[in-house]
């Protein structure tokens, strides 16, 4: 009487349920078709496209500056990261040298954005597992970041905060001390979140060993960003192919060991600490000077194509751009969205786990549907 592996002891019908697109835990309009044996997931199928807006196609009819605004709408909880990746790609294509001050401010903005994104991730992840309070705490601190962004560029969600060749404006006076004050607050509050979660027995039971993936498997399936580092692979675009000011600012890469949900949680928390450190050092070392390079009024990159990647909060966000050298808009623009690539690992991660774990795993790979569907 050998109970066959992967199936429960009792004979039950296989049940197919649609998790989403209208489901409170799928972070938007993700639809996962789960095949269940009892409560155990036999197979999962991710159905995408409910939020498809044709961003890549739209870019072909916008001029190069307008596209920054479209990149805001990719990962709408981390739009500055996408802004940065896009403008750097165009700069690479046009070989524009960005002023040092602009690179530092970009780093500060990108790291603030990383903190904001990770706060949203931590909050919703914890709420999915049932700890509602953490969500509100996280959003409370994210509010501070949004205030900083608002003061910098006037927007609170879709910042449009970068320009090809630099930044739209220098930081407002008195802004940098506020950033530092925020860093102090955030450092304290991180301890508060950890008090609620890190040593909590229920949290440990819900996350340890859930959705574990080895480093090789993670690379094979194309995981990137913190989800990959959780499996112990020290891959970070900020270190490997430095951009902005990351080559001048020291920081550590957080890596996990087991590659489970808990490790990914720890990795992201450590990243938040590192981000605070990066922001502090960037503010201290902020050089004087202009924030905008000399770029022509009408941006028209030479014919050619290029790919450039950044480390967004979700992982490696890359832009491939082909320019024909004649028109004022790209011939083809293609985004390598980290959420999309990470989502591909979902079926592999959830197989054999229970329905409740699916929620935890969707939370742990940190997706934003705006970026997945584009």
């Amino acid at each position: 009487m050998e109970p066959d592996a992967g199936r429960s002891m009792f004979d039950t019908d296989e049940l197919v349920i649609n998790m989403g697109p209208q489901h409170p835990a799928t972070h938007g309009v993700l639809r996962v078709v789960l095949k269940l044996d009892g409560e155990k997931v036999v197979d999962a199928d991710v159905v995408l496209g409910d939020l498809h807006r044709g961003v890549e196609k739209l870019t072909e009819n916008r001029d190069w500056t307008q596209i920054v605004l479209l990149t805001d709408r990719l990962d709408y909880v981390a739009s500055a990261a996408a802004n940065l990746a896009y403008v750097e790609t165009v700069e690479k294509l046009m070989s524009i040298e960005v002023p040092r001050r602009a690179r530092y401010v970009r780093t500060i903005l990108a790291e603030l954005q990383r903190l904001a994104s990770h706060l949203v991730w931590l909050g919703s992840h914890a709420m999915d597992i049932g700890a509602i309070t953490v969500f509100l705490y996280c959003l409370r601190e994210r509010e501070l970041i949004l205030d900083l962004f608002e003061e910098y560029c006037g927007a609170r969600l879709t910042y449009n905060s970068m320009r090809i060749g630099g930044l739209p404006q220098d930081v407002p006076s008195g802004w940098l001390p506020k950033v530092l004050r925020y860093c102090d607050v955030q450092e304290e509050k991180l301890v508060e979140y950890e008090t609620l979660l890190t040593q909590n027995r229920i949290w440990l039971q819900r996350t340890r060993g859930i959705g574990a993936i080895t480093g090789e498997a993670a690379i094979a399936v194309g995981l990137c960003g913190p989800s990959l580092r959780g499996s112990g692979v020290p891959r970070d675009v900020r270190k490997d192919e430095p951009y902005a000011a990351y080559d001048e600012i020291p920081f550590d890469i957080a890596i996990g060991s087991n590659g489970d949900t808990y490790d990914r949680y720890l990795v992201r928390l450590e990243e938040m600490r590192q981000s605070i450190g990066i922001i502090r050092r960037a503010v201290e070392g902020l050089p004087e000077g202009p924030v905008m390079a000399k770029v022509p009024r009408l941006i028209k990159p030479p014919a050619g194509e290029t790919y450039h990647a950044n480390e967004s909060p979700k992982g490696e966000i890359g832009f491939f751009i082909a320019s024909d050298g004649r028109s004022t808009s790209p011939y083809r623009l293609r985004v390598r969205p980290p959420s999309f690539c990470n989502l591909q690992a979902l079926p592999q991660l959830v197989r054999g786990h229970l329905v409740a774990d699916v929620i935890a795993i969707i939370g742990t790979i940190d997706i934003v549907l705006g970026e997945v569907d584009r």
Binding site: I17, T133, N200
Partner: protein, 341 residues
């Protein structure tokens, strides 16, 4: 005639109104406590500090459209919320809010009735409530409710065992099944059973959390997994009945815990002479205070803890709580035999 019919009727009306109003304000209290914990304000718009919010909620739920899914079992679908609510309400029949008092020159006990099997009565009505949950999920003819209801009923039945076993050790300590006599036994012993039976109290409290589907055991309605569990398809007044039942059950388990472990209506330290000024506070106020202290604990836990997974919950129930409860009974019985001889 007055004693047989009129008085009980008046008491029933009083208790039911009281319970329903308490439930309404318990919901507000929950939202407020959650808000305080979570650094926000909670309801503030309806009345000063939102005190009229429950009334607005009730009005909203009354006028909302009551949707029945197209292929639902209509009668069962309608009956399910009632089957859940009624047992929750009739459990109050045996809960003693206070001792006998003199009202208009007539001794009136502050409980509806004192059954000689009072404690078992509570267990039995709780057992009936399970049906509403199973049937509600089944009748909705939808997958999430069905999953939710199967989970929920399995959870309720499992934890009912643990809870009932803790009752046994309390019964051993008190020597009676009557709720009133259990309170009296605590007066006679001069100590709350919370100190005599701390293990039973712990198991009871965990079990009570699970039986009322509260965090961290709120799996049946775990919104992030099963949308809303067994009442996903319910709306309007029928949903309100489920909601009402959940909060009524919270009050019931807190009131039972107060009675069994915290001396019911007795003032703290009932046998310490120099604290007798505490006796100036009417007994039913003590009862209410203790019950609300426990309810506060429920709300606090909800704001703090993540949710268990289903299999972990079952493991906790069967592998830890039930054996612990049985061990507790054995120890209690052994101690009683040793002390008795």
């Amino acid at each position: 005639m007055i004693d047989l019919i009129v008085l009980p009727l008046i008491k029933i009306v009083f208790v039911l109104t009281g319970v329903l109003i308490t439930v309404m304000y318990l919901v507000l209290l929950e939202r407020k406590v959650q808000a305080w914990v979570q650094a926000r304000l909670g309801p503030m718009r309806v009345g000063p500090h939102g005190v009229l919010q429950p009334i607005a909620d009730v009005v909203k739920l009354f006028v909302k459209e009551d949707v029945t899914p197209a292929r639902a079992e209509k009668w069962v679908f309608t009956a399910a919320p009632i089957i859940v609510l009624v047992p929750a309400l009739i459990a109050f029949a045996v809960i003693p809010f206070g001792p006998e008092v003199n009202l208009f020159g007539r001794p009136v006990p502050l409980y509806i009735t004192d059954l000689n099997v009072g404690l078992l009565y509570i267990v039995s009505v709780a057992a009936i409530g399970v049906y509403g949950i199973i049937l509600g999920g089944w009748a909705s003819n939808s997958k999430y409710p069905l999953l939710g209801s199967l989970r929920s009923s399995a959870q309720l039945i499992s934890y009912e065992l643990a809870v009932t076993l803790t009752f046994v050790s309390v019964i051993l300590a008190a020597g009676s099944l009557s709720m009133v006599e259990i309170v009296e036994a605590q007066r006679n012993n001069g100590i709350w059973f919370a100190f005599v039976q701390p293990v039973a109290l712990f198991i009871y409290f965990v079990g009570a959390l699970a039986e009322t589907n509260r965090n961290p055991f709120d799996l049946p309605e775990a919104e992030s997994e099963l949308v809303a569990g067994f009442h996903t398809e319910y709306s309007g007044m029928r949903f309100a009945l489920f909601f009402l039942a959940e909060y009524t059950n919270m009050i019931v388990v807190s009131a039972v815990a107060t009675t069994l472990f915290f001396g019911g209506w007795l003032r703290p330290f009932p046998n310490v002479e120099w604290l007798s000024f505490l006796g100036l506070v009417p007994p039913w106020i003590w009862f209410t205070l203790k019950t609300f202290a426990l309810l506060y604990l429920f709300l606090w836990i909800r704001a703090t803890l993540p949710r268990y997974r289903y299999d972990q919950l079952m493991q906790l129930g069967w592998k830890w709580l039930i054996p612990l409860a049985i061990a507790n009974i054995i120890v209690t019985a052994a101690v009683k035999v040793v002390l008795g001889s």
